[in-house]
Symmetry: C2
Subunit: 343 residues, 2 copies
């Protein structure tokens, strides 16, 4: 049944009414917040002797997400995950986020509340507080801008710059799933557009769909590294794809990498779906993106500590050839790794 | 002469090439930056015993600015000013900004470089460093998201909440100029659209035009208050207009305000132009917005310290009637102050 009450036009609220509505759901958890949402700026007390870590991200409808198959609650969740993943990639702990959103008039109050519900679920899970934001209107679409702030001990932060030749190249979890999840949903969208009576057929691919719609950030890996007393020599999160990220590490650390194709961690659902789509699973793992796994390097001396960990794969090692990133196939062929965004 | 070399399509650079181009101009000034632009996140060392202050803002083409009369360099400058103004409004000092930008394909590399030049000029003037950002593409228009981080001593921060009845309501500088600058440029745009051979006639209104296109944030007032040893009981910056801001202070501090019309500081150019446009100068001062002046309250005991300051006007006082904001005319008439965004 169509219910008018659940379609509140944003204009009817006024900007300040909207902000109050959206943020009313949130109870700050962090006792160090001195001034939270609702002032010119937020204020918090940093922990003594910690460095502050800041990252920011834009998400644009039609570029970074497609409303045809992205539930707003999932979008909110993913927006947080994508951002805090960058903080974990510095070996740091995220604590605060600001969320700005510009939406066209097709988005109702209820739609934005659903988006915020997703934000709050992620904040709850990762123990983060929303401390500020901004709202605006757009003629078309939806733009989300998130900034996340965290902290790290002085001697524990990890950038992209510290990798040395012969360091081991490691990756958490598995790769390519988020990309195939996207392909799957693009297919179902096409089918739906051709025949709106058809229901999406995602059965058997729950893991893949979740990799795309509700990814997680690898807080657990950062905690594991701390437990193992390992500080990576360099680290980056996989948002654009393994190929692009490995090039960043190579460029910033002035090394090269040899990556062994058979070591790439790919889930069985990913393999199966890749074959269904006539896609090469290795290419999906290399160029897919949005897996939000951590790619990092450790000295060879740490090998024993990680070799048996189910959640970390050693996929190659750094070389002395700056910016030369090779993929080595099981038969010994060597391919130059290419990536989007690098020209 | 048309010069092809100065119209570089953004796609030809790749995202990482673009970021490197845009940020190459910037040399970090703050020695506390541990990791700057170009990693997953930026890292900085906060000063000991200081609180961290964070604010964020979205600027949307067609909503917050009109490219027809906004030079990109000015837009960059204003984007910084609008954001750091929020930090000053907490009685804090801005230090770091992140700048995210999403642009349609009509924006070339040279256009974005011009925007960044404006950012850098403002950063230079206000002693701020850009430590991060994100770039993306849009189908239409330009979206800018800026987050600014600063710091303040523990016992010096000022929110919107501390005003007490009888506190004096003060405002820096003058009001309504930015709004009339906007009206002036809207008029010249209409004339230009009707007859493209006409050149804009802005003569005699340089101050007004600058108030709109190249506003300043009141760093000097924060420094002055520190010198005078005054900590305001509440403070806000004027971005939406005096009427809206005074309602924020009233709401958050649970007081009311009486404002005296004849005390409102209005520049002679503003008065002159208001009369030319058949606008009421008081309405422009109340509802204009974008003046980026500071509106603050101080106890009556501070009266002697500020009464003769040319840059601060005492425009009224707080009352015990929550949320009742009155404008009192010279003849003693009392009007309820209304503002956009409040419903």
């Amino acid at each position: 049944m169509f219910d008018n009450a659940s379609n509140t036009n944003l204009d009817s609220l006024g900007e300040f009414g909207l902000i109050k509505k959206l943020t009313a759901l949130h109870v700050p958890k962090n006792p160090n917040i001195v001034v939270g949402i609702g002032d010119d700026a937020a204020i918090f007390a940093p922990s003594p002797n910690r460095l502050q870590v800041v990252s920011t991200d834009l998400m644009i409808e039609g570029i970074n997400f497609d409303m045809a198959y992205t539930p707003l609650k999932h979008l909110g969740y993913k927006a947080i995950v994508a951002n805090i993943s960058d903080i974990y990639a510095m070996n740091a702990i995220p604590q605060y986020v600001t969320v700005s959103i510009a939406a066209s008039s097709k988005y109702t109050l209820e739609a934005l509340e659903e988006f915020y519900r997703g934000l709050y679920i992620a904040c709850e899970k990762y123990n983060i507080d929303i401390i500020g934001g901004d709202t605006s209107t757009l003629t078309v679409g939806l733009v989300i801008s998130i900034t996340v702030i965290g902290e790290v001990e002085h001697d524990k932060h990890v950038s992209r710059k510290g990798c040395k030749p012969n360091d081991l190249l490691c990756v958490s979890g598995d790769l390519g799933g988020a990309y195939l999840g996207l392909q799957l949903m693009e297919r179902e969208k096409r089918i739906f557009l051709e025949n709106p009576a058809m229901q999406p057929d995602l059965q058997g691919y729950d893991y893949i769909v979740e990799r795309q719609l509700k990814p997680e950030a690898r807080k657990d890996i950062i905690e594991l590294l701390a437990e193992l007393n390992i500080i990576p020599t360099s680290m980056i999160d996989i948002s654009d794809g393994l190929a692009s990220e490995v090039k960043h590490l190579a460029f910033e650390s002035n090394v090269g990498f040899d990556i062994y194709e058979e070591k790439l961690p790919v889930d069985t659902q990913t393999l199966q779906l890749a074959s269904e789509f006539n896609l090469d699973a290795t290419m999906c793992a290399l160029n897919g993106g949005e897996d939000f796994e951590l790619l990092f390097t450790v000295p060879q001396s740490e090998f024993e500590k990680i070799k048996n960990n189910m959640d970390i794969s050693i996929i190659g090692h750094a070389t002395e050839q700056p910016n030369v990133c090779n993929l080595i196939t099981p038969s010994g062929n060597v391919f130059d790794i290419k990536a989007q965004g690098w020209k």
